[in-house]
C-alpha cells in the first residue's frame, strides 16, 4: 500500500498527540469514576447502617430508635450524598450511573424505610430529590436521582420491610405488621405494571421475584398470628385480664 515515509513521520507524532489527549480524558474520567464509586460505596455502607439501626426498633423504643436513624440518615445525606452531588453536578448523570447506582439505591432504601416507619407513607422520588437540591451549587444542573434507581431501591425496601414485619410480629405489633403487609402489596402491584417499561429490566425482574417471596412471607406471618390470635377471644377477660401480649392494646381486647 501507498504509505510514504515523510507522512508517516508526521503521523507518528500526530498519533502521539492524539493519544496524549485521549489519555488525559480517560485519566480524568476514570479518576472521577473512581471517586464516584468510592462515594457510592460509602453511601452504601452508611445507608446499611441506618437500615440496621431501624431494625433495632422494638415496641418500646420506637421514637428513640427512629430519631437516631433519621439523624444517621441526615448525616449520610450531608456527608456522603453531598460528595456524590458535588462530583456529578452539571453532567455525566447517565454516563456514570453504573458507578453510583448501588449507593443511590441503598440510600433510597434507607430513606424510604425511615419515612415509612415514621409516617407509614411512601417517600416520593420528588421528595428525595427536593431534599438533595440544597446540596448542589445552584449554578449547575443539580443531581437528581433517576426513576430507575429509585424503583430499584424500592424493590429492595420490601426485603427490609419483610424483616421488619417479622420482627414486629415477634414483638406483638400485629397491626403494624398488617400495615406493612398492605403497603408492600401496593408497591408490588404498582411495580408489576412498571417493570417491563424499565430501561434494562433484567435486574428488576430478579428483584420482583424476591419481592413476591417477601410479600408471601409477611402474609404467612400475619396469617399464623391471626389464626392463633383468634383463639384468644374465648379466653377473654377470664384468666388474664391485664394481659397485653402481642402488643394488642388492652382496651381492644
Amino acid at each position: 500500500n501507498s504509505a510514504k515515509k515523510p507522512r508517516k513521520m508526521s503521523t507518528s507524532s500526530a498519533m502521539k498527540e492524539g493519544f496524549v489527549k485521549y489519555a488525559q480524558y480517560l485519566n480524568e474520567f476514570n479518576d472521577k469514576r473512581e471517586r464516584v464509586v468510592k462515594a457510592s460505596r460509602d453511601i452504601t455502607i452508611n445507608s446499611k447502617k441506618v437500615i440496621f439501626q431501624v431494625h433495632r426498633i422494638s415496641k418500646d423504643n420506637k421514637e428513640e430508635v427512629l430519631e437516631k436513624a433519621e439523624k444517621d440518615l441526615a448525616a449520610v445525606t450531608d456527608q456522603y450524598m453531598s460528595r456524590l452531588v458535588k462530583e456529578l453536578q452539571g453532567t455525566d448523570f447517565w454516563k456514570l450511573r453504573r458507578a453510583y447506582s448501588p449507593g443511590v439505591q441503598e440510600y433510597v432504601e434507607a430513606a424510604t424505610l425511615c419515612k415509612f416507619c415514621k409516617t407509614g407513607k411512601l417517600l416520593n422520588l420528588a421528595e428525595i430529590n427536593a431534599n438533595l437540591l440544597p446540596l448542589s451549587d445552584p449554578s449547575q444542573e443539580p443531581l437528581q436521582i433517576n426513576v430507575l434507581d429509585y424503583l430499584l431501591g424500592l424493590a429492595d425496601l420490601t426485603g427490609e420491610l419483610m424483616r421488619l414485619a417479622i420482627g414486629r410480629i415477634s414483638d406483638g405489633e400485629l397491626d403494624y405488621a398488617e400495615k406493612i403487609c398492605s403497603f408492600v402489596r401496593e408497591i408490588y402491584r404498582e411495580l408489576t405494571l412498571l417493570v417491563p417499561n424499565m430501561d434494562d429490566n433484567a435486574e428488576m425482574k430478579k428483584k420482583m421475584e424476591t419481592m413476591l417471596q417477601s410479600v408471601v412471607k409477611i402474609e404467612n406471618a400475619c396469617f399464623s398470628v391471626h389464626v392463633r390470635g383468634s383463639e384468644y377471644v374465648p379466653l377473654l377477660g377470664s384468666s388474664d385480664p391485664g394481659y397485653s401480649f402481642l402488643g394488642v392494646p388492652d382496651v381492644e381486647l
Binding site: S2, K4, K8, M15, L26, L122
Partner: protein
C-alpha cells in the same frame, strides 16, 4: 392515592423513554445494515483487489452513515443530557463504523484515523452529540484485528513490503495505547488482544525478512533506522 399518582407519572415517563429507545434502535439497525455492505466491499482487499477500487465502492456508503447518525442526534436532542442513557443502543454499531473508516483511512494514507477526523467524516462534530472516545478506541482495536489477516494475504499475493509498514504502524499504535490508563473493561480486553495482532505481524515480517524477500532499498533504510 399519592402512591398511585407517582407511579402513574413514572409509567408515562418510562413509556416515553421506551418509545424513544425504539426509534434509536431502528436507526441503529439501519447503520448495522449499511456497515455490513461496506464491510462486504472492503473484504475484497483480502483477495488482493486494487485498493482504490475497493475503497471507492466502500466510500459510497459514508454519506448514508452520516445521515443516519444525524437522525440519532436529532432524536437525542429531544431529551437533552440523556445521551448516555441511550448510548448503549448504538455504540456497538458505532464501533464497527469507526473500525471500517479507520481501516479504509489506513489503506489510503498509511496513517491512523484520528478521533477528530472520524467525527468529521460522520458529521458528529456538534457540541452535544459527539463520538465517544472509548467507542473510537474500541473501533481502532477492531481495525487492528484485521491487520494480521491483511498482511498474510498481501504476502501471499507477493507484496513483501507490506509487513514492515504494518509492524511499524502497529508498534506505534500499540505504544500509543499503552499511554492510556485502562480499567478492567471491554476496551482493556480489546487492547490486550492487540498484542496478538502485533505479534502475528512481527512473525510475518520475520518470515519475509529471513528469506530475503524484502526489496533491497528498504532493507538499507532499515539498517540505518532500526538495527
Amino acid at each position: 392515592s399519592s402512591v398511585e399518582k407517582q407511579f402513574e407519572e413514572f409509567r408515562l415517563q418510562l413509556e416515553a423513554s421506551g418509545s424513544l429507545r425504539e426509534r434509536i434502535r431502528a436507526v441503529s439497525m439501519e447503520i448495522e445494515s449499511v456497515t455490513r455492505l461496506m464491510h462486504s466491499s472492503i473484504l475484497f482487499v483480502h483477495q488482493s483487489r486494487p485498493v482504490p477500487e475497493v475503497l471507492e465502492k466502500a466510500k459510497v456508503q459514508i454519506g448514508a452513515l452520516k445521515e443516519l447518525f444525524h437522525r440519532i442526534a436529532e432524536i437525542i436532542r429531544e431529551c437533552p443530557s440523556q445521551y448516555y442513557r441511550y448510548h448503549g443502543d448504538w455504540r456497538t454499531e458505532t464501533q464497527t463504523v469507526v473500525s471500517l473508516l479507520a481501516f479504509m483511512h489506513w489503506l489510503e494514507t498509511g496513517n491512523l484515523l484520528m478521533h477528530k477526523e472520524a467525527e468529521e467524516k460522520l458529521g458528529l462534530n456538534s457540541s452535544d452529540f459527539g463520538l465517544d472516545v472509548e467507542d473510537y478506541l474500541i473501533g481502532i482495536c477492531f481495525m487492528s484485528n484485521e491487520l494480521p489477516r491483511y498482511v498474510v494475504n498481501q504476502v501471499t499475493a507477493g507484496d513483501y513490503d507490506c509487513p514492515r509498514n504494518v509492524v511499524k504502524f502497529l508498534t506505534d499504535l500499540h505504544a500509543a495505547f499503552r499511554m492510556l490508563n485502562l480499567r478492567n473493561d471491554f476496551l482493556r480486553k480489546k487492547f490486550d488482544g492487540m498484542k496478538y495482532d502485533l505479534r502475528r505481524v512481527e512473525e510475518v515480517y520475520y518470515d519475509v525478512k529471513i528469506r530475503g524477500l524484502t526489496t533491497t532499498e528498504n532493507t538499507m533504510d532499515d539498517n540505518g533506522a532500526q538495527e
